[in-house]
Symmetry: C2
Subunit: 243 residues, 2 copies
DNA sequence: CGGTGGCATTATTTCGAAAATACCCTAATA
DNA sequence: TATTAGGGTATTTTCGAAATAATGCCACCG
């Protein structure tokens, strides 16, 4: 349980727990809204209070958990409103990052796109229909999308993008069991990569936006029933519908 | 010292220390690049290790401090490269947020702009030439800019904006003693507010972008000497004199 | 019967000391 | 003289227990 010890132990125990918990939240091992009791976590991750608190603090700054004063921590709740808002902001950020990357990318950038696409594509073929349930494929998919924008030359943009990506990824994982296979999504990846390598900014931006928005639409379509009743999107968040 | 106990004690001691440290970093009481020793901080804020670690963890997630495994924490260094990147991303985010706010803003939004501008303007007149050194004016200035975008209906956009704003504010504070008075900046605020209230999206976006970029240009122009030697913007930098 | 106040229980938060790690200075060797 | 190995000090990181706050329960009162 918990696991994916793949996350490569950070030098410090806090960092290690942080990475493991982040993975567990994204992969819904720790479920949205779930109360995070220290006693439980202490056993689960085999550490003491201090590293746990540190990890939880950082995660709350990433919006993967929410901290309630004197009442502990909770896995960040999910809601359609949150997903929609997330999607809108991701579109803004990804488009900007991709545009800059295409403008500035050098040969190393091109090579990175080709190589990461290749690895993702190969694994997909190897795994067959249910590729998207694989943890490893998630990693390669993330690496591919990162490769696309990695040349944008803006640390801040990349960092913001990464955090948004991870939160969105949680929604994908959460719904993956209920979706039909997404074979056509792979064709999209190829198309996006090609547009980027062709330095066709307009096409690439259009494609990446559609890619993101269609993913969200599919999540809502096939896994909408997993979300809490529409009105109360979880705690402390008024938030009307977005998008 | 340290303080501005105005930050309104959070319910929890960690939150309190977090807020106080954030203010101290933004106001350069804790200087860029400075090593944050626990023993020192313990005395400075009168708390123990645990809340300190928690606060530092959160601040590192906000990029106001950087954590080095097994080597403690350091106040985030400053550099022209960082300031420029920050500025570019802020422009992207502020423009988007402002556009949405203008599109969606209701009367409460309009009232918020008018009221926050009024308060900022009054205080400025009361304080005279050196208004911009005032802590209180900083708060009202922040409230005004927040009011402009508050109706954008995107929690994520607002949160990202706020964090970027705070980091940029550190650069302003760091350079404020060296700048000539910025009287004309106040005219800009009025112009921006008017454009927003007139629902003139194009004008408002153009003005806010210029407002942000010119501020950065002035910081570099008048306080460029405070930055570490251009090439290595990096951390672990003893840091020249600041403030 | 419904509501309210107080007490016991549970969980979180904070503390200071112990363990682990990095840093610095000295000395020995090549 | 330069380089490295050793050992002692300074700091960070982790621990488990004490303090503090919240929760649920039950008796008591209206």
């Amino acid at each position: 349980m918990s696991d994916t010890q793949k996350t490569a132990g950070s030098e410090t125990r806090s960092g290690d727990v942080l990475n493991r918990m982040r993975q567990d939240i994204i992969n819904c091992v720790l479920k949205p809204g779930e109360k995070l009791k220290f006693e439980t976590l202490r056993n689960l991750y085999s550490v003491s209070f201090s590293p746990l608190r540190e990890a939880l603090s950082r995660l709350s700054a990433e919006n993967l958990v929410v901290a309630q004063d004197q009442k502990g921590f909770v896995v960040a709740p999910v809601s359609i409103a949150d997903l929609n808002d997330l999607t809108d902001v991701r579109v803004l950020i990804e488009r900007e990052a991709l545009a800059r990357a295409i403008q500035r990318g050098d040969e190393a950038w091109e090579a990175g796109i080709l190589s990461s696409f290749y690895r993702m594509d190969r694994l997909q073929q190897k795994l067959g229909k249910e590729y998207y349930l694989s943890e490893e494929w998630s990693r390669l998919h993330g690496a591919f999308h990162l490769a696309l924008v990695s040349a944008c030359a803006s640390p801040n943009l990349l960092e913001i993008r990464q955090k948004l990506y991870e939160r969105a990824h949680r929604y994908r994982r959460m719904s993956s069991r209920f979706r039909p296979q997404w074979r056509e999504k792979e064709a999209e990846h190829k198309t996006i990569a090609d547009a980027a390598l062709d330095r066709d900014v307009d096409a690439a931006l259009r494609l990446i936006e559609r890619h993101i928005r269609e993913t969200t639409e599919n999540v809502i379509k096939y896994a909408g029933h997993l979300f809490p009743p529409t009105d109360q999107a979880g705690l402390a968040d008024p938030q009307t519908d977005a998008a």
